[in-house]
């Protein structure tokens, strides 16, 4: 029960933080950190698949509504919440994930968390940026934006683990 409430609160917090603070940050006119997917990254291991998908959908819809884009964030977040369990399997330590733990730096270490974050952030940004452009004309410049923004988002997310979500 406690975990559910905490996740709902986190859901609202990441949306507000993304829209109010992060969307106003702009580096080089190119890079923008999308850190709201932190919510999907931190969902407990045992969350049922259908719940992961639905929360991904709602998260994307929330951002879409605020930013005013039609469905782009939704498509990207639903995709990453679908592939997340497979990625977790791929990255699992030798004896699997222990019960009563969460996908956090605190439990599985810096390197594991960095790999996990980078994979999901890159997939999300790739889908999002190409859907936004909706054509392959500026393929390379979009790719550059994907790479730069992914680096920025991933490092912000990893840093947040040390400052905000310490325990």
């Amino acid at each position: 029960m406690y975990i559910i409430i905490r996740n709902i609160a986190r859901f609202l917090l990441v949306i507000l933080f993304q829209v109010m603070v992060m969307d106003n940050i702009l580096i080089n006119g190119f890079m923008i950190p999308y850190i709201y997917i932190l919510f999907i990254l931190l969902m407990p291991f045992e969350t049922p698949r259908w719940m992961q998908l639905l929360s991904g959908f709602l998260l994307g819809m929330g951002i879409d509504l605020f930013v005013g884009t039609p469905g782009m964030h939704t498509a990207a977040t639903v995709l990453i919440s679908f592939v997340r369990p497979y990625l977790l399997d791929l990255l699992s330590p030798r004896d699997g994930y222990e019960p009563e733990t969460f996908p956090r730096i605190h439990y599985y270490g810096f390197l594991w968390f960095l790999k996990y974050t980078l994979l999901i952030v890159v997939i999300h940004h790739f889908v999002l940026f190409y859907l936004e452009v909706f054509q392959l004309k500026d393929f390379l410049s979009t790719l550059l934006r994907v790479i730069l923004s992914s680096a920025l988002s991933a490092s912000t997310i990893v840093l947040s683990q040390y400052f905000v979500f310490r325990k």
Binding site: D23, L26, G29, F66, T69, A75, E132
Partner: protein, 272 residues
């Protein structure tokens, strides 16, 4: 039947995933009608309110620069006033003055702005209550900003030049040739002017202004100047425009109300 049920059970997550993605892509494809839907309108009220709260802080940090802009605009207006009063002194009655004015301006404040996306939108803190409605022009003291897309009671959204859906008829000031202004993503400093035929004399540095061929903007509002051009395939120039409006530092803008807009649109509708 049982196999079907078992199939659904086995692949329920995949099916849910596909369903959600289909919903998302339907929204993307129907982007335009989505923008006009009720729920987005409701959210516009909500996010407009939230943004106006946050923006108080942002505005505070740029007070100095806003002040500078005001001073400059003030100077310019004072000069114009001086010029006009000297005309009045010589007791010439200018027939223009007798006509009721055609355009007037609603000063507004920007509460949310973005420049780095492909489809940027601006939110203003005035709406229907202050007479801001769909399809009104928006300008700043530096030049053209955009066109009002939708308005709620207290807020309105603007589609600025920096949006791939933006298109406007503009002309080159020196020779009056009209073309289409649009933006193709990328830098928020530049836009593109197309449909200027190859026989026109184009010079780097020429000023681009609104053409006045629509009921939205009066003629002669600054847009920018020609940065570079090339004659690519066919009969039209590809002209790069340096925009005179600095979208990254925009705070106060004016919405243009055209008093005779209904009359003009009615007449044009009847003629068609």
């Amino acid at each position: 039947m049982r196999t079907l049920l078992r199939f659904i059970q086995k692949y329920s997550n995949l099916l849910l995933f596909l369903l959600l993605e289909i919903i998302a892509f339907t929204l993307i494809v129907q982007g335009d009608s989505y923008q006009k839907s009720k729920i987005v309108g409701l959210n516009r009220q909500l996010s407009g309110y939230a943004y106006s709260r946050v923006d108080g802080a942002r505005e505070y940090f740029s007070l100095k620069q806003a002040n500078q802009q005001m001073v400059e605009e003030n100077m310019e207006l004072r000069n114009k006033l001086e010029l006009l009063s000297s005309l009045m002194d010589s007791s010439i009655v200018i027939p223009e003055f007798r006509k009721p004015y055609r355009y007037f301006f609603v000063p507004t404040r920007i509460v949310h702005n973005s420049v780095y996306k492909q489809y940027n939108y601006i939110t203003l803190d005035k709406g229907k209550k202050d007479g801001v409605f769909r399809d009104m022009g928006v300008i700043s003291d530096q030049g053209l900003v955009g066109i009002v897309l939708e308005s709620s009671n207290n807020f309105s959204t603007v589609i600025p030049i920096l949006n791939r859906d933006f298109k406007l008829s503009v002309k080159i000031k020196s020779n009056d040739y009209a073309g289409i202004l649009q933006w193709e993503g990328g830098s928020p400093l530049y836009a593109i002017l197309t449909e200027i035929p190859f026989h026109v004399n184009v010079t780097v540095g020429d000023t681009i202004i609104t053409s006045g061929f629509s009921s939205i903007f009066p003629e002669g509002i600054d847009i920018g100047w020609i940065e570079s051009f090339q004659l690519e395939k066919g009969n039209f120039y590809d002209i790069n425009i340096r925009l005179s409006t600095d979208f990254q530092r925009l705070f106060h803008v004016n919405v243009i109300r055209n008093v005779r807009r209904e009359e003009q649109l009615n007449l044009e509708g009847q003629t068609r």
